[in-house]
C-alpha cells in the first residue's frame, strides 16, 4: 500500500492552529512535570531523613534558580489543570431529560472547587 502523506511536526507548528501548539506544549510539559514530581519526592524523602538533609533541601529552594523553575512548573500545572477541566466537560455526560448539560456548565463546579481550594491554601499558609 502507498505510504501515508502525514504532516510533519514542524508543519503542524507553522499552521496557525492553537490546538496543535497547545498539544505539543502539553506533551513537552508532561516530561517537565514528571521531573518536577521527582523533585517533590526527593523533598519528601529528605523530610523523613535527618534534619540536616531537610535543611540542605530548604537552602536549595532559596537559591535564585528555583524561582524560574517554580514559575515554569506553575505555568505548566495551570496548563494541565485547564486541559483536564476542559476534558471533563467533554468526558462526563449529564442529561436533564433529552438535553445534555453543556461542556461549559460541567466545568464550572470544577473551577469553583479550584478557587475554594486555592483560597483555603492561602488562608492556611497565612494562619497555619
Amino acid at each position: 500500500m502507498l505510504p501515508k502523506r502525514a504532516m510533519s511536526w514542524s508543519e503542524y507548528m507553522t499552521l496557525k492552529r492553537g490546538a496543535y501548539r497547545v498539544f505539543m506544549l502539553r506533551e513537552v510539559s508532561s516530561l517537565f512535570n514528571a521531573l518536577y514530581m521527582v523533585f517533590l519526592i526527593v523533598m519528601l524523602h529528605d523530610l523523613r531523613g535527618p534534619k540536616a538533609d531537610y535543611d540542605a533541601f530548604l537552602a536549595l529552594l532559596w537559591s535564585p534558580a528555583m524561582i524560574p523553575l517554580h514559575a515554569v512548573a506553575f505555568a505548566f500545572a495551570l496548563l494541565h489543570t485547564i486541559t483536564f477541566f476542559n476534558a471533563m466537560g467533554k468526558a462526563i455526560v449529564i442529561r436533564s431529560g433529552e438535553e445534555r448539560i453543556s461542556e461549559g456548565g460541567m466545568a464550572v463546579p470544577a473551577y469553583a472547587a479550584w478557587v475554594v481550594a486555592t483560597l483555603f491554601v492561602v488562608w492556611f499558609l497565612g494562619h497555619g
Partner: protein, 250 residues
C-alpha cells in the same frame, strides 16, 4: 462571458500521479472570483475549462456525502462548504487530506480507514438475528444519548486533523471510535463487549491525547474527541468498579 467577474482568485493545487513516479508538485490556476462560489466550484471550473486531467472526488455539493474533503490552506475542509470569499484575495492552496496515501492528485486511498472502521462493528448487532424481525422501539431520551455521534458522514476530516493518526500506523482514529461509541450507546445494540477488544485497546481510545482538532474540523459537530473521552471514562469505571457490577450489566 458577459457575467464573468473582473476579479480572479489564485488556486495552488496539489498534483501527483504516484503510478507514474516523480515528485508531488503544485500547479497554479486563476479562476473567476464569485462571492457565492466554494472551493469545489473553483475546482470544477478548472476541470471543465482549464485542465481536464485534475482528479478529485465529489458528489452531492451540499455537505451530505462527505466525499469532497481536502486540505484548504492546511486545514481539513469540505470543499463544498469552503467559500472563496473567506480566503480572497489570498492564494488558496488545495491539497489531498493529510494522513492518507494519495491515489492521484486530490484523491486519497481509504483502505486503512475502512479496515479500522469495520473492526469496531459499526452496525446494530443483535445476539439473536430473529429479534430483528420485531420492531425495536426507542424513546426520544434513548435516541438523544447517541444521536450526535450518528451524524458522522465519514468525510475523514477528523483523521486529517489528527496528528496521532498521522504518525501512528495502528491508531484506530476518531471517526471509527466515535461510531463505536454511537453503537455502544444505542439501546438496540448488543455488541458492546465485542467492540471492547478494539476500542479499549492501546491503539483505540488510549492513543488519543486530546488534541481536540477532530471535533473542531468536524462539519457535522459529531465531536469525536468527546466520544473518545467518554469511552475512556467508561473503560476506567469498568476497570475500577467492574468487580462490583452485577454480571451482565452494561
Amino acid at each position: 462571458m458577459a457575467n464573468e467577474p473582473k476579479e480572479t482568485v489564485k488556486l495552488e493545487v496539489f498534483r501527483w500521479h504516484p503510478e507514474k513516479g516523480g515528485e508531488p508538485s503544485f500547479q497554479s490556476y486563476e479562476v473567476p472570483f464569485h462571492k457565492d462560489w466554494v472551493v469545489l466550484d473553483a475546482l470544477n471550473h478548472i476541470k471543465d475549462t482549464i485542465d481536464g486531467s485534475l482528479t478529485y472526488r465529489w458528489s452531492c455539493r451540499m455537505g451530505v456525502c462527505g466525499s469532497c474533503g481536502m486540505m484548504v490552506n492546511g486545514v481539513p475542509k469540505l470543499t463544498c462548504a469552503a467559500f472563496l470569499r473567506d480566503y480572497h484575495p489570498e492564494t488558496i492552496r488545495v491539497e489531498p487530506l493529510a494522513n492518507f496515501p494519495v491515489e492521484r492528485d486530490l484523491v486519497i486511498n481509504l483502505e486503512d480507514f475502512l479496515k479500522k472502521l469495520s473492526s469496531v462493528y459499526p452496525w446494530i448487532h443483535r445476539e439473536k438475528t430473529d429479534s430483528l424481525a420485531q420492531e425495536l422501539r426507542q424513546t426520544p431520551k434513548q435516541l438523544a444519548t447517541f444521536k450526535q455521534f450518528s451524524m458522522c458522514i465519514n468525510c475523514m476530516l477528523c483523521y486529517a486533523a489528527c496528528p496521532i493518526y498521522g504518525h501512528g500506523e495502528d491508531v484506530i482514529g476518531p471517526a471509527a471510535l466515535s461510531l463505536a461509541r454511537r453503537y455502544n450507546l444505542d439501546s438496540r445494540d448488543q455488541a458492546t463487549e465485542k467492540r471492547k477488544d478494539v476500542v479499549y485497546s492501546e491503539h483505540g481510545i488510549w492513543d488519543c491525547t486530546f488534541v481536540g482538532e477532530c471535533s473542531t474540523v468536524c462539519p457535522k459537530h459529531v465531536d469525536p474527541a468527546g466520544a473518545i473521552q467518554q469511552s475512556k471514562v467508561e473503560a476506567t469505571n469498568e476497570f475500577m468498579l467492574g468487580p462490583f457490577y452485577p454480571r451482565g450489566k452494561r
